[in-house]
């Protein structure tokens, strides 16, 4: 079933479009930094790690992840999760799958698995593209941590992959929300847009200081905690909290999706 989802994804232009967009981000960052190296004073609003790229290409994949996460990843999970079931309903293929019988619970779960693996592959692509372009233009070197010590290239690479893994797992919650939204409507674009809006709204709310009391419960609250991987020693508290929130959202919304879709009249 998962294989079938992959066949479908790999035959659509939009999968490549978003992959190109995500893979292109590190390239653009490296290019921009090379052409016009940022000065510390002018870059208070710059994404994390941007300043360090000139000294070490290993920062390119990290900056890539940091830049891609808030918007492009939200867009990708809108397309992969939000559209998952609503899109099938809209094209009418949903009924054909269900009478096969694909099984409603199995369909929901394999759509979720497909969305997560697609996201994972895209994040890997961002890391790979960042490493290639960053390495070519600026070369690799030991990575200074945020706490002042430094990591060998091998250690740093491992942590960069860990950061990618964390970013993926931290998105598990909002992806489940997307799948849930997808069971509510027969409009693919509608569910996609709704999911993107939810992901972005959650990040906006997370940035409004007066709403601090709800921040810890937002599905995207822990998204930036991966930066703690680059401290010495690593501070796990933020990531642990992020994973707990993401996991809780994943469980609740997958259960809701299974419940809603399990008894829904499929009239599309």
């Amino acid at each position: 079933m998962l294989k079938v989802e992959w066949i479908k994804a790999l035959r659509r232009w939009r999968t490549y479009l978003i992959a190109a967009a995500l893979g292109g981000v590190p390239f653009l960052i490296v290019l921009a930094v090379k052409l016009s190296p940022p000065t510390p004073s002018a870059s208070e609003d710059a994404p994390p790690f941007l300043l360090q790229i000139v000294h070490n290409g290993l920062f390119a994949p990290l900056t890539g992840l940091a830049v891609v996460q808030p918007f492009f990843m939200s867009l990708a999970l809108g397309l992969f999760a939000g559209d998952a079931i609503a899109g099938e309903a809209q094209s009418g293929t949903l009924r054909s799958l269900l009478v096969r019988p694909a099984g409603r619970a199995r369909l929901v779960l394999s759509k979720y698995a497909a969305a997560m693996t697609l996201l994972g592959v895209l994040l890997l692509g961002v890391i790979a593209s960042g490493a290639v372009f960053g390495g070519i233009v600026f070369g690799f070197g030991p990575l200074p941590t945020l706490s002042g010590s430094s990591l060998s290239v091998a250690q740093a690479s491992l942590r960069i992959f860990a950061a990618g893994g964390y970013i993926l797992l931290a998105a598990a919650g909002i992806t489940a929300v997307g799948i849930f939204v997808s069971t509510l409507t027969d409009s693919g674009p509608g569910a996609t847009v709704a999911t993107v809006i939810l992901a972005i709204t959650s990040q906006i709310l997370d940035n409004i200081p007066s709403l601090r009391t709800i921040h810890a419960y937002l599905p995207t609250h822990g998204w930036l905690a991966y930066t703690d991987l680059f401290r010495f020693p690593v501070d796990w508290a933020g990531m642990r909290a992020g994973l707990v929130v993401s996991g809780a959202y994943a469980m609740v919304f997958l259960a809701a999706a299974l419940l809603v879709f399990g008894r829904k009249d499929v009239t599309a």
């Binding site: 009418g92 293929t93 009478v99 199995r106 399990g262 008894r263």
Partner: protein, 310 residues
């Protein structure tokens, strides 16, 4: 054993009963025509039969198994279905679509068996040469054929087809009819819905007529058409003929305002007796033409001029 049974099947949307206490029995190996005007509840019935929507009341047994929305009823793996417009992944080729559907459910053996039948099914519906084209580029008729191929992929025991000849040209329709006949001859049960009488009449063993969610008639097409024979009479003196004929028991006259004169022959009255009576009364009979009442007349009578809500 029965292939499909519904008992008191009901679907209510608000106050409207789209399907109303429907009792239906389809025997194994039969070609059953499910006839009704648009909006009569055919598709809703089919969707309930296949576990896509939950009945508001009543139940469905498909291939001896109680249908439910939950789980993966094994009877569905032995069922082939085409519901309304067959839908496909437009960005995939015809063959790829069949692959996706072949892999979409059932056991490992089921999947392997279905994959192994793809070429044969493409051939059966005449799409071999178009198999690598994207479905986006298919005509409606081609999509319809691909839908049939997808439905037949699993060598189903029962084939449930919703308006399968929509969008086909007359020769395509005939091909499909012949195909359905061949399938039933091979032991497959076929349940086919249609709003086109000719289609159902020509090929079905049994016909059920649905109107406003209720089954208003059921039986072989010939029985539905009615036992009574109708005869058209061309006579020189209609008034006199009417007087003569109204004296014979078992002869029913058409209304006075209607010309030409028609009679329905009930009981054991024959056309020859009618002719003899008229001639001996001095009415010249130019022609005496037996007319079978068409299924269409019966149909319109049953569903009330077919003015069912869209």
């Amino acid at each position: 054993m029965t292939a499909l049974v519904t008992r008191g099947l009901t679907k209510r949307y608000g106050d409207v009963k789209v399907v109303d206490e429907l009792d239906l029995t389809v025997e194994r190996g039969e070609l059953y025509g499910f006839l009704g005007p648009n909006g009569a509840g055919k598709t809703t019935t089919i969707r309930m039969a296949l576990g896509l929507i939950a009945p508001s009341g009543g139940e469905v047994d498909l291939l001896g198994e109680r249908m439910s929305l939950r789980g993966r009823p094994s009877c569905l793996a032995r069922t082939g279905a085409m519901i309304e417009e067959p839908a496909f992944y437009r960005f995939l080729s015809g063959r790829r679509n069949l692959e996706v559907f072949a892999k979409a459910g059932g056991s490992r053996q089921d999947v392997r068996r279905r994959l192994g039948r793809i070429e044969e099914m493409l051939e059966t519906v005449g799409l071999t040469s178009a198999a690598t084209k994207r479905v986006k580029a298919y005509s409606q008729g081609m999509r319809q054929r691909l839908g049939l191929a997808a439905a037949m992929l699993g060598e189903p025991e029962i084939l449930v087809l919703d308006e399968p000849t929509n969008g086909l040209d007359p020769s395509g329709m005939r091909e499909i009819r012949q195909l359905l006949r061949r399938l039933t001859d091979g032991g497959t049960t076929v349940f086919v819905s249609s709003h086109l009488l000719a289609e159902v009449e020509a090929v079905c063993d049994r016909v059920g007529v649905l109107s406003r969610g209720r089954l208003v008639a059921e039986g072989p097409p010939s029985v539905l058409r009615g036992a009574a024979e109708r005869v058209r009479l061309d006579v020189d003196d209609v008034a006199k003929a009417r007087r003569v004929l109204s004296a014979i028991r078992g002869v029913e006259l058409s209304p006075e305002s209607e010309l030409p004169l028609r009679v329905r022959l009930l009981d054991e009255v024959t056309a020859a007796q009618v002719n003899a009576a008229l001639v001996s009364a001095g009415v010249a009979v130019g022609a005496l033409v037996p007319e079978r009442e068409s299924l269409e007349d019966v149909f319109l009578e049953l569903v009330g001029d077919g003015d069912a809500q869209g």
